[in-house]
Amino acid sequence: MSKVTLKVNGQSHTVDIEPSTPLLYILRNDLGLQGPRFGCGLGQCGACTVIINGNAVRSCVLPASAAKGEVTTLEGLAQNGKLHPLQQAWIDEQVPACGFCQNGQILTAKVLLDKNPHPTDAQIRTGMASTLCRCMTYYRIQAAIKRVAKGAA
């Protein structure tokens, strides 16, 4: 066990854990966050996605001690009580079915649009391809992303 300090959604936390513990379990069980979820533990599905240094990162396979930089989870996306445009688009398009994967969908889409504000349909398909949804809401997710991309300056 050793002390690991994490900066999450603008707040600093120090936890005393086995440093190889995947970040996901710290976020969920020590910091009480509910956005990132366990889907596969293999980095294959995207349920556990967080944003670190502008990249979508799979927290289920990232040792907590390797989480260098500011961590943003779904809970940290809204600013001053205002939903991020992607979150609002998700509501406007009524995207989720069960909703379990949507943490990963929204955060992956944010990183995609931050890097490329006006993606083509093909770029959306490719950029989102490794973030799975088993209720198969892909069509609506893509519509929500396009809605935000169109609205972006």
Partner: protein
């Protein structure tokens, strides 16, 4: 350092307050229901009491309590629309509580896409009854007959006297109705009020947004996976490495000194390790040394030999065939006879989040926090499994990943309950990905043999259908003696023989025989290939075979596939319950029109270049709901890759409660079946399942998503404006025709008929090469 967060006190307080209300401790206590007074801490809410369904609050809002669960199709929103309309209250002044066994009546949770079709009726009737009672209360207070009163948005007034105005809240807010309802069972629950004609609905037919979505996109929703309790521990299972293996010994010293270790628990072949922290339990489960003895013989054939095995197997049961005319003689005299065999492998649920539950044994009771779609069944099953009185067990239903039948065989809930009792501490169980993908319940594999006969004019005169389903010992209803943990503990019941199944269509064919058989794999207990209810359990398989074969017959007749089907439907006489034939015709026509279908036989003359395009149609019904679907595909001749570029679905489920919600449900259903058509297959060797993650068991991705999906909501009822237009289910019908629509489109594009799913690139490429394309 573990910083536990307890269940929010307000949640627990709300549940306790609700139980207290139901027991008669509301503000206006007239009588105590004897059953409730004598029962334990968690009695069954009485469906014959109006108070069990509806509470009017002092601020003139209403809460509806229903015994259903919403697996992401928006049924909770739809129930609110239906009940708000019958009660005459604004939709946004209502809320709904679902599926927790101590606070909502037992409507069975989810299953069979019957929420709107069946359970919606008692909900409408109790809401109408509440409106009637409220009008009666006002009538008594004002000494005016009820028919001289009007009600709008939960405000009752007397048009003859503007001074007379009372809100529902003023009349009864926070108090009990104390009205006894009638009905032999929960589905028959009724008061004496009449239902409204559908033309008077304000919210039904509109698309209010789903109330559950905001909390799902801002991270604030507390899911079943999020429940934390003081003193909780984490468990992980250790599954037999070979199906049917027997536990010989456990070397506890292999994990005893690991940090956070609490206990190894085993009974029969069930093994779990419990640790203080989640990652510790995962680590300990990986390291625990367990000695297993392999079974004497192979539990099943390898997946590549499955269909050969099934065709050679002696059936364990046969259905009574459906027979019309004399198919044998008709085939013998037919101008042209077509024969084909089709195969569908086992396909899994592979839920996006693996099975999970938390069980709390505090105070000698048992509370299970679960996403179980059949929470009431789990409560009964756990009580029987652990031999605890039912009224000491409750299931608190919370949201979870992807239902579709998996959580109707909710192994994790039973495991958490068992472990919580063993440790006398709250225990959280969650399966790992390989465990879930390998060991979840499976949709049964099918083989089919079809023969069809055409007369000299190309009319279909004979249709001979035989299905075999690997569906012996089907599970899926949370029984205490069928869940996996019970099997692993050596509990055996009489196997529930699954069924084969027959196609659901309304074609008029003069000579027809349809039969089905069930076959068994060698291992029927403790097997990862146990079958359960995977979203319309047999429909996608059966309709793949039957609607592909109808397409083969149309091609043999050199007929347009839409015209060929319409001819078979129009040849029928008379009608059937729910006007399914008329509605079948309406759906096929609507799909063809929405697509812009140009009549011609398939295949299209093979186009040049690497990308071959085509379109295919298929149709089916489920219960009373009809769906016709058209797929447009691009087949890459060099790679075998299939992209379904466009989908059209024309769908008739009677009265549509929430059109936008229905559209999304249908899109999801079609894409779920598209995943089964293109990707999904459970693979196994002769010892174990080998498809264990998203690489070895691929799923549809964003990259596969069609560029365009068109949904047409059809009302093909011969009297479309009737005031009692019924509302049917929409959760599963759209799953059925899709596989055949894609196969038919690939045939149209390439002239190659694919008779085995999934249509993975290498299989398609091999078929194209074999055909010289």
């Amino acid at each position: 350092m573990i910083d536990f967060t307890a269940i929010p006190p307000e949640v627990e307080a709300a549940l306790a307050s609700r139980r207290s209300f139901l027991k008669g401790a509301g503000l206006l206590v007239v009588t105590l229901s004897p059953a409730a007074a004598q029962a334990g801490p968690y009695p069954d809410p009485n469906f014959r009491q109006l108070d069990s369904w509806i509470v009017i609050h002092q601020n003139n809002t209403a809460t509806f309590y229903v015994g259903k669960t919403d697996c992401g199709q928006g049924t909770g929103t739809a129930f609110r629309q239906m009940m708000a309309d019958e009660l005459d209250i604004a939709f946004d002044k209502t809320s709904i509580i679902m599926g927790s066994t101590d606070t909502t009546v037992d409507q069975g949770g989810s299953g069979g896409s019957d929420a709107i079709q069946a359970d919606g009726w008692p909900m409408r009737r109790v809401a109408a009854e509440a409106r009637r009672v409220l009008l009666q209360l006002a009538s008594q207070r004002w000494s005016l007959p009820p028919d001289q009163l009007t009600v709008r948005d939960a405000v009752i007034s007397a048009p003859t006297d503007p001074s007379k105005r009372l809100t529902y809240g003023e009349l009864i807010g926070g108090k009990r109705f104390n009205v006894t309802l009638a009905g032999n069972n929960v589905n028959a629950t009724t008061g004496v009020a009449k239902l409204k004609p559908v033309q008077e609905f304000k919210y039904v037919g509109q698309s209010p947004q789903r109330y559950d979505i905001p909390a799902k996109v801002d991270g604030s929703l507390k899911w079943a996976v999020d429940v934390k309790l003081p003193g909780m521990v984490h468990a992980r299972n250790i599954k037999p490495p070979v199906a049917g293996a027997k536990l010989v010994s456990i070397d506890e010293s292999s994990v005893r000194n690991l940090p956070g270790f609490v206990k190894v628990v085993s009974k029969g072949n069930y093994v779990a390790v419990v640790c203080e922290r989640e990652e510790q339990a995962i680590n300990a489960a990986r390291r625990l040394k367990v000695n297993w003895e392999k079974p004497a013989s192979a539990p099943f054939p390898a997946s590549e030999d499955l269909f050969t095995f099934m065709r050679a197997a002696q059936p364990t049961s046969r259905s009574q065939p459906t027979v019309v005319g004399d198919v044998t003689t008709s085939l013998a005299g037919a101008a042209k006879v077509i024969e084909a065999e089709y195969d569908v492998p086992f396909q899994g649920h592979t839920a996006f989040g693996p099975a999970h539950a938390m069980a709390d044994p505090s105070n000698g009771q048992l509370t299970i926090y679960s996403n179980d779609m059949k929470s009431y069944g789990m409560r009964n099953g756990v009580a029987a499994f652990l031999k605890i009185p039912r009224d000491q067990v409750r299931v608190v239903w919370m949201e979870g990943p992807q239902g579709f039948g998996r959580t109707a065989a909710d192994d994790a809930g039973f495991e958490a309950a068992f472990l919580a009792k063993e440790l006398n501490r709250p225990v959280r169980v969650q399966w790992m990905r390989d465990e879930e993908t390998a060991w979840d319940t499976k949709g049964p594999a099918f083989t089919f043999k079809l023969r069809g006969g055409l007369d000299a004019q190309g009319n279909l005169v004979a249709f001979d259908y035989l299905a075999q389903a690997a569906d012996y010992n089907h599970v899926g209803y949370n029984e205490a003696d069928s869940v996996l943990i019970a099997q692993l503990m050596g509990i055996r019941r009489t196997p529930a023989r699954g069924g084969g199944d027959e196609p659901d269509e309304m074609y008029s064919i003069p000579h027809r025989r349809m039969a089905s058989e069930v076959v068994s794999l060698p291992l029927i207990w403790e097997t990862p290939l146990r079958t359960g209810n995977l979203r319309d359990p047999n429909g996608p398989q059966v309709t793949f075979a039957s609607e592909s074969f109808i397409d083969e017959l149309a091609a043999a007749a050199k007929a347009d596939p839409v015209a060929f089907r319409l001819a078979l439907l129009n040849a029928g006489t008379g009608d059937d319950s729910g006007f399914k034939r008329a509605r079948s015709i309406a759906c096929i026509k609507a799909a063809a029109q929405a697509y812009g279908w140009d009549p011609r036989p398939s295949p299209k003359r093979v186009s040049k270049g690497d990308i071959l395009t085509g379109r295919g149609v298929a149709y089916s019904f489920r219960s009373q709901t009809v769906a016709a679907e058209i797929a447009e595909v691009e087949v890459n001749g060099k790679t075998g890759h299939v992209w379904v570029k466009r989908l059209v679905c024309a769908h008739d489920c009677g009265l549509v409660i929430n059109p936008e919600g229905t559209r999304r449900t249908l899109e999801g259903a079609m894409l779920h079946s598209l995943s089964r058509a293109l990707h999904e297959e459970v693979t196994f060797d002769t010892e174990k399942v080998t498809s264990v993650d998203w690489v070895t068991h691929p799923s549809l991705t964003h990259a596969d998503t069609p560029a365009q999906i068109d949904i047409v909501l059809v009302n093909g009822d011969p009297n479309p404006n009737r005031p009692d237009l019924p509302h049917y289910g929409a959760g599963e019908t759209a799953c059925k025709p899709l596989l055949a629509a894609v196969a038919n489109a690939i045939f149209d594009a390439t002239g190659v008929r694919l008779r085995r799913v999934p249509f993975r690139d290498q299989r398609v490429l091999a078929a194209l090469k074999a055909a010289g394309i």
